[in-house]
């Protein structure tokens, strides 16, 4: 297990390096920049600005400087929000994004797994059909539309829940964002879980387990759950990426103070420093979380470790 973990960490490193490099060069070499405003800046001002952000040095020096500082946790300055370091903005936004994302992730995974099991055990009976409908809605309706519709229904017409904002402790404000974020994830998980549970229940080793008389409950929890979870767990990595990138939108719709909001603002303002910083950070975050998911996978399916 330890060897497997080491190997996985080592194989994630080149991905991280390439991701940082690609992001850096795409953004730096792209035409246009944060200082191409409506009005042209006087040449001297422009030169000073470029010197201030070290944009006048050769690009590879900028690159190594950037990577070196990044390793130390410094993602460079914002180029539009004056006086702000990207890492400061991340420090403000990250706890919220992580809290929102992980809440939605955990809620969605648990609901999805349970719903999938219920649907599999009641194959082609009413719980199964209810699930099909919920899955359909979750997968088809894009999150921004789902957000707008739920806001309208529960926030404006019914007035059951606050329609947006975050005042740091009113958990009701999180209900709608978490729902929007979690729904598609739960939908996909439940669909995967249903399929793999049905397959597992039909497998020979489940028949063996039943032949031992251990009962349906133990059969489900001890014998069927773990193997049936394997395809679900292999989806958790990509699922988490979708979910975290989905939180970009959800934070914007509901006016929540996470990194997503800064990222979108940065993109709208063409704030290259902030876009680069947030992207690199997001990539790192997703790689780390994927790594964790892989380790869970190896624990579930012992055969993986020996490959």
């Amino acid at each position: 297990m330890f060897n497997y973990a080491t190997r996985r960490v080592l194989s994630a490193l080149p991905i991280a390096i390439i991701a940082v490099t690609v992001c850096f060069f795409i953004l730096r070499l792209a035409p246009g920049g944060p200082f191409d405003g409506e009005r042209a800046l006087p040449p001297l001002v422009l030169q000073n600005l470029r010197a201030h952000y070290n944009l006048d040095q050769p690009i590879w020096i900028q690159y190594f400087n950037y990577v070196w500082r990044m390793i130390q946790g410094d993602f460079g300055p914002s180029m539009v929000m004056e006086g702000f370091e990207v890492s400061e903005l991340l420090a403000i936004g990250l706890p919220f994004t992580l809290m929102l994302g992980m809440t939605a992730f955990i809620v969605a995974t648990i609901i999805g797994v349970i719903a999938g099991i219920i649907a599999a055990v009641n194959q082609n009976k009413w719980p199964d059909y209810v699930l099909v409908l919920a899955v359909m809605l979750g997968v088809i309706v894009p999150n921004f539309l789902m957000g707008a519709l739920l806001q309208l229904l529960f926030g404006v017409y019914l007035r059951w829940l606050p329609a947006g904002g975050w005042s740091g402790g009113n958990w009701l404000q999180l209900v709608l964002p978490v729902t929007v974020l979690a729904w598609p994830h739960a939908a996909r998980i439940s669909r995967l879980m249903r399929g793999s549970m049905i397959e597992t229940l039909g497998s020979n080793f489940i028949r063996t387990a039943m032949s031992k008389g251990i009962g349906e409950r133990l059969m489900l929890t001890r014998h069927a759950l773990k193997p049936a979870l394997i395809p679900v767990v292999s989806y958790l990595g990509p699922g988490l990426s979708y979910l975290l990138t989905g939180s970009l939108v959800v934070e914007s719709i509901f006016g929540l103070p996470g990194i997503g909001k800064y990222f979108i603002q940065a993109a709208l303002n063409r704030d290259y420093g902030l876009v680069l910083g947030t992207t690199v950070f997001y990539v790192m975050l997703i790689l780390v979380l994927n790594l964790l998911v892989d380790l869970v996978y190896a624990w579930l399916d012992p055969r993986v470790r020996f490959r």
Binding site: I15, V139, I140, A148, L149, L152, V249, I264, T279, I286
Partner: protein
């Protein structure tokens, strides 16, 4: 955003089946699948609906009494009204919603089409080169694909948006440039198996250049996967487009798309609900139908499933 159609899995399963069959049987697999798709009622209705939406979006604007950019000063913020010819009402600027909706649907479809074509071309060329040359080139190229898979691609889309700015065409060429990974994998696998076949050997013995062999002998055999891939890619791109437009990063005024319309409609939905509801219905219908077609394709290709 990616993944409403389960594109990767459907296609990979299809390509695996193809690889296990001989070339002539491979064609009949595709035909067989198409026959089964037509027999699937939900998929058939969806095909009709999508065709109808496409036709109405492109032809309908000639039959609508109002123009999408024209302001009707007498009818600002008016609900649907048949007498004035504003069948779906007007927006805050007095523009006819039906006309705007047709224009927006058109834009969303064009964008999806362009991006799909781009991704097919890139995927086919990349995959064919990787598979045909094999060895170290192949290993390197596929390693790159693996890495791209591991990255959150919507972030790259947004970076492209930042770079390409406000030109919708460039923007969606950009999106297409990020959607080709699965296609490349499939094409590579197919090329690897085709290049051992007699007809390719014969062409090579006849002195054909690699490029000619790829274009004339390998690519034409990929029609099945390409059609399926395109069908499954369109809804994903529509979602990405509407998502970006919703964030204000995509199609900009005075042009419009489904995402832009929803984005404009959402904040005023409390008082002018039709501005949100109409584009939402079109978007959801389109996505629903395309996903039924995708499901139908998957079932058609994998008869043992269910």
């Amino acid at each position: 955003m990616a993944g409403i159609t389960g594109k990767d899995r459907t296609l990979t399963a299809y390509a695996d089946t193809l690889e296990r069959l001989d070339a002539p049987k491979g064609r009949s697999l595709t035909q067989d699948a198409m026959r089964r798709l037509i027999a699937n009622r939900a998929a058939l209705i969806s095909i009709f609906l999508v065709t109808a939406i496409v036709l109405i979006a492109f032809v309908g604007s000639y039959f609508v009494p109002w123009d999408g950019t024209k302001v009707d000063w007498g009818a600002i913020r008016k609900p649907p009204n048949f007498e004035s010819g504003h069948y779906l009402g007007t927006d805050q600027n007095g523009r006819d919603l039906l006309a705007r909706l047709l224009q927006g649907t058109q834009m969303s479809l064009i964008v999806a089409g362009v991006a799909t074509v781009v991704s097919v071309v890139v995927g086919v060329v990349y995959g064919a080169i990787s598979g045909y040359f094999g060895g170290r080139v192949d290993a390197l190229m596929m390693r790159f694909v693996d890495i791209m898979y591991a990255l959150p691609y919507i972030l790259f889309v947004i970076i492209l948006v930042v770079i390409f700015g406000r030109s919708p065409v460039l923007l969606f060429v950009g999106i297409g440039l990020l959607e080709w990974l699965t296609m490349a994998r499939i094409v590579r696998g197919q090329t690897l198996s085709f290049k051992e076949k007699e007809f390719v050997e014969a062409a090579r013995a006849g002195g054909a250049k690699p490029f000619t062999i790829i274009m004339r002998h390998i690519v034409p055999n990929l029609t099945g996967p390409v059609v399926i891939y395109a069908t499954l890619t369109v809804p994903e791109i529509i979602i990405v487009e509407s998502f970006l437009s919703y964030l204000g990063l995509g199609v900009q005024e005075p042009l419009t798309s489904l995402g832009t319309l929803i984005s404009n409609g959402a904040p005023v939905a409390e008082v002018l609900p039709w501005l949100l509801v109409a584009p939402a219905i079109v978007l959801v219908t389109l996505l629903l139908c395309l996903s039924y077609i995708g499901d139908g394709l998957r079932d058609a290709l994998d008869p043992k499933d269910r």
